[in-house]
Amino acid sequence: MKASKKEFIAEAEDLLEESQRLILEIQDTFSSGLNPDTINALFRTMHTLKGVSGLFGLQGISSISHALETLMDDVRLGKIPMTDVVAGFLLKNLDIMKNLVDTISRDDEEGDISAFLKDIEAFRNSRKGRAEERADEERIDAAIMKVLSEYEEHRLKSNIKDGKGIYLAKAVFLLETFDTSLEKLTKTIKTVGELISTLPTSSNVPDGSIGFNLMFGSTRPLEEIKKTVNFDIDVLVQPKTAQQQSAAALATVKSPDAHLKSTSTTVRVDIEKLDRILHTIGELTLAKGAVKRIGTELVERYGRTELVYDVHKISQALERRLSELQGQVLEIRMVPIGQIFTRLAQIVRRYSRETGKDIELAVFGEDTELDKYLAEEIVDPLMHLMRNAIDHGIEPPEVRKQMGKKESGTIILKAYQKGNHVVIEVKDDGAGIDTVRVRKKAIEKGLIDDDVELQEKEIIDFIFTPGFSTKDVVSEVSGRGVGMDVVKNKLSALGGFAEVQTVRNAGTTFVLTLPITLAIIKALIVRVGKEKFAVPLTSMSETFIVEHKDIQTIEWKEVYYLRGEMLPMVRINNFFNIEGDSAERSFAVLAGFGERRVGLMVDEFFGQHEIVIKSHSDYMKNLRGFAGCAEIGKHEVILVLDAESLIDESVLKQKGGSHV
């Protein structure tokens, strides 16, 4: 395929995607009022598509987009009212064009499209008569119509649509004083209706004077208007009779009933507003904590008197309601992950075309919900994994055929909820990761010595090292400079983590685990020496007690056998170089999940606390091991441990200090 044609296909897809977005936006705003800019933008995308497809001599797409451009031109000029039916028809035709673009990308002929054109033409004609106000507009003198700005014309139309009468007041004023006289007249007109336009005129006006034709809409009877305005008045459009009006009013009362149900039960809210609400809830949570503490102190000081009991009851009610409120707001933030899967599907289609690899995408669990913020943040990492799978994972068709695999590759995108986490899997049936090659590369890069024995899992982890790529040629698809380390860091920043499972020649699966929400989380408060830290419950699975004598050292790593499984241990006091208790036993937190787990040893547990993690200043940004800080009441601020980076750091430290 020629490069220029590729460019056309990419642009055409962008334009079609943009058109679809615009139509959906139009559908969303039926009840709240259409934005002419959106309709105009839709007209322009069709116009551009017509232009570029014409340049490439693609008759089919060019003719269809031309027909749709004409239809949209009528819509934007109000000749055809924008309705759900029109929107549906446009969407249908976008699909037709998408298929045509697909056909072209396969280097096939466009085929006969005359039936589609006929369909569009017939539709346009059938809708055209429906703009009732059109007829009314035509009753207005063309000389007046042509001087109206777009906005004034719009106001005129909507006045007519509302059944108001349209009138023209004619006034002549002295040139020197016309502005004050005109201002007075304008005010008067506004008491009976809406002033639409002020047209100065010099016809039939004596020298030294100036004439004005003021167009306005009103529901008042003509006699009343004449009496109030007290100038010559022409009736341009008759108001709808009382009967017509009440019928129209009834219609507007009745039909929105159906409308409201289908379209306007949803409200779009900026995510920032929800963030602010959560922030307030966070502050309330602190206040609640204070009330609870006061309650406890009162019991200690005054015993269980009635008043003390009241405080206790109130603080409990507060706690319940607050957690309800929190749950409700968090629920609002939840979106089905299908939203981002659709976007990813488009990317897969595009890249599979660019690389000449036929890819089948299977998607599961689109209904799985997660926080809107997380959903948006996870798109890029997922996109990177998909590109990677297409580029490095799935073999070219010839190779696959030789290996006895199906010629088309398969990528499975799967999401599901697991406790407080959402798991997203990206699985391909490609070549898998070549661990021998990864190991060689790691030695070349000086990441390990060539005599170090590593487990397969540890070798695979090297792909997450910055700047690590086993592919010698940086392909167009994967692009330059974005590596797996970015994926890993992003996940870590979101409080999640990435795992890889790979089987040579059978494929690779990336498993991304994310907390469902970031906003307010529960954390275990722990003590190490004189310091307190928070460990998010989302990053830990259990706690246990460790007798120091049971800790063994294997290859410079401290490990502990938990139910028969070897677990690397990190002494938090050593890690941060703080003085801990000198005891024979420690409390430990099992952090991380799946294959990547570590035991964090601390001196004491203080119980659970709800925290809002705040990122710390740039000044502390380079400190590894912390996810941020949180306030836990009484203006006490503590650091939140980041399990993921602790796992990394501990492995590096214990491996003989090969710090990067």
């Binding site: 700005s149 040139l175 502005d179 336009s197 100065p200 010099s202």
Partner: protein, 122 residues
């Protein structure tokens, strides 16, 4: 010396247009901040060119153009519309009403200067 009437409600845009014209050297400028002011100023002297905005608070530029074109005293005066690109339809209407040229805001000084010189240049 030829005189240009600038009709524009934004004082910064007015100043900008005036500066662009001053650069050309051989024109006088008179300014109106509203359509009403322009209506008052029209009979006071002869103008060689009118530069007008479309969206103004009292009467719009189209109504002004229509007024100028339909009055024998001014109908011969060329008019340049200076307005934003968003009012594509208004531009069409302005030209249909008899405006001589259209310059899209934001404009480069050369664009406006070329338009002026093409119409009333030496």
């Amino acid at each position: 010396m030829k005189t240009i009437l600038i009709v524009e409600d934004s004082s910064t845009t007015r100043a900008l247009i005036r500066a662009v014209i001053d650069e050309l050297g051989d024109f006088d400028t008179v300014e109106a901040a509203t359509g009403f002011e322009a209506l008052k100023m029209l009979p006071q002297q002869e103008y060689d060119l009118i530069i007008t905005d479309i969206n103004m608070p009292d009467i719009n530029g189209l109504e002004l153009i229509n007024f100028v074109r339909s009055n024998v005293r001014y109908s011969h005066v060329p008019i340049i519309i200076v307005s934003t690109e968003r009012s594509e339809e208004d531009k069409k209407r302005g030209l249909a009403l008899g405006a001589t040229a259209y310059v899209t805001k934001p404009f480069k000084s050369v664009e406006l200067q070329e338009a002026i010189q093409k119409i009333i240049g030496p």
